[in-house]
Amino acid sequence: MPINMIVCCKQVPDPEAPPAVFKVAGNKMTLPADVKPVISPYDENALEAALRIKEKTGGKITALSLGNKLVRDVIKKSLAVGADELILLEDEAFEESDSWSTAYALATAIKKIGQYDLIFCGRQAADWDAGQTGLGIAEILGIPAVSVARKVEVTDGKVRIEQVIPDGYEIVEVALPTLITVTSELGDLRYAALKGIMAAAKKQPTVWKPADIGLEPSQVGAAGRHSKLNKLFQPVKEAKCEIIEGDSPEEAGANLAVKLREAKLL
């Protein structure tokens, strides 16, 4: 049975950028221009989960993204790796969303899309790391949700999920439609093949403004927040590392042991 899947993909600043380039200015995170945005890594895992199901079972994947001035060659990666359609909730009004206003807008857009069996989200986004949006969408839509999945399979209208728990995993079954948040153990997103890239470049995403999903600008983005950001800051680290030297790496290793003894750590 071919199934309809929706994958929520968020554009975030590259979390792999060296820590030193993350600078807070005026309650906002600023990064140098050469740090390019990426799709949030867990969302990439989510996309991979959907692609594997599509390969095995068949189906349609719609990637869904929210933001403003989304970088096309970043966000269209979903199309390049095999998503069938890309819908962008893209408008100034969507800027500075929190978990609530993000989930609310995404859920409203998903209702407009209408046909869905499986919704995938990353377990959390690499910018605010809140880990709420996926489960929030499920609550708003009133569908079941399973979080932190490391494997997802669809058989006979049911989803079988390996959900990561402390010291192991659970195998959980749930009927469609359902929402699943995905973790990195599921595996990296495949690389985009040239053919996919070329096809993606020719395809234009569907862009929806708040009004297109029946929302007022006051219900989305900064205006629709439930939380107030009081302060964004970077704690100062005082720690200073003492480098233990030696004439050879082996000697340095031995000196480290001696040092730990001297420092009474042993």
Partner: protein, 333 residues
């Protein structure tokens, strides 16, 4: 609707006793409640709660609500949500504190969206704004590259707290408190997920969370083998456990239960030895509470040296065996 008052800790049990995160939540909840001059309650949900309710009082709760039902033996979102939603509505606390555990991560967002209120996850610091009496909730963002303080006027203010971020109170069994058994009818028809099987990937030896010493290998270790040999030998000498950063877990070099970091385990041992670990913020988030971080890395510019107290610049293949041998010598006296 009644005015929201008091702090409610959503407690978790481990092996029939109060989980350590719950004692931490009670410790922090106590302070907040005292600042507000309001009460601290604790909710315990299981098939049988037993003595844990008394423990909760000893660790600071004024009232303990116990919900017992055979169907609540194992956490399932759809059953636990029925309890959490009902109690949150009935008790209308000012704030609900949960652990940033696998239960808290799963339950808190659902509850917040069900109630239409705000949630701040994975918080490191909580305080009461004296004027607005709002909870100021500070949490790491951008993979630990910054922190942010959030507040919300929507009640209850739901918050999950990172493990080991707060200190429990000294246990005081003479403390007085009230245990209130509460009945919640669990509607089985609303449970939409089914747990087919639970598979434990036990890691032999000391549990990471309890180990006083942890030896962690990063991507730079190069493969699964050193985790079983070089790193394990070092950990064994120090009676510690072996951990890993995310890439070794994602690559299947080690079970994911060994992953330490923002989305893995949060640890705070006395000695944390990071071997061939670059020190990405997402990893540091999981070990920054350690008392002494020691870094061994061939790249002198690796970020982990910014976190460490002591460091050696060199190939771990050369440094670690020599380090282990010298330790053997020293510890043998």
């Amino acid at each position: 609707m009644a005015e929201n008052k008091g702090i409610l800790v959503y407690g978790e049990l481990a092996g029939g006793k109060l989980a350590s995160i719950t004692t931490e939540l009670l410790g922090c909840g106590r302070k907040l409640a005292d600042d507000l001059k309001e009460d601290l309650s604790c909710l315990l949900v299981s098939d049988t709660v037993g003595e844990a309710s008394k423990e909760a009082i000893a660790f600071g709760a004024d009232r303990v609500y116990t919900v017992e039902d055979a169907s609540l033996k194992q956490y399932q979102a759809d059953s636990y949500m029925q309890v959490a939603e009902k109690l949150a509505k009935e008790l209308s606390p000012r704030a609900i504190l949960m652990g940033q555990t696998s239960i808290g991560r799963d339950l808190a967002p659902r509850l917040a969206f069900r109630l239409g209120v705000d949630l701040a996850t994975d918080c490191l610091e909580l305080s009461i704004d004296p004027e607005a009496k709002l909870l100021m909730r500070t949490r790491p963002v951008y993979g630990g590259n910054a922190q942010a303080t959030f507040s919300s006027e929507l009640m209850p203010q739901i918050t999950t707290v990172r493990t080991k971020a707060m200190s429990p109170m000294e246990r005081d069994d003479s403390r007085k408190g009230e245990v209130i058994p509460t009945k919640v009818e669990i509607d089985a028809s609303k449970i939409r997920t089914k747990i087919v099987e639970t598979i434990k990937e036990e890691v032999a030896g000391i549990k990471l969370e309890d180990a006083p010493v942890i030896v962690t290998g990063g991507r730079g270790v190069g493969g699964p083998e050193p985790f079983k040999t070089t790193l394990k030998e070092l950990a064994d000498i120090l009676h510690g456990a072996v951990g890993a950063t995310r890439p070794p877990a994602d690559n299947g070099w080690v079970p994911s239960a060994m992953h330490i970091g923002l989305t893995g385990k949060i640890v705070a041992p006395d000695i944390y030895i990071a071997v061939a670990v670059s020190g990405a913020s997402q990893h540091v988030a999981g070990c920054s509470g350690s008392k002494n971080i020691i870094a061994i890395n061939k790249d002198p510019e690796a970020n982990i040296f910014k976190e460490a107290k002591f460091g050696v610049v060199g190939k771990y293949e050369e440094v670690v065996p020599a380090f282990t041998n010298k330790l053997k010598e020293i510890l043998a006296g």
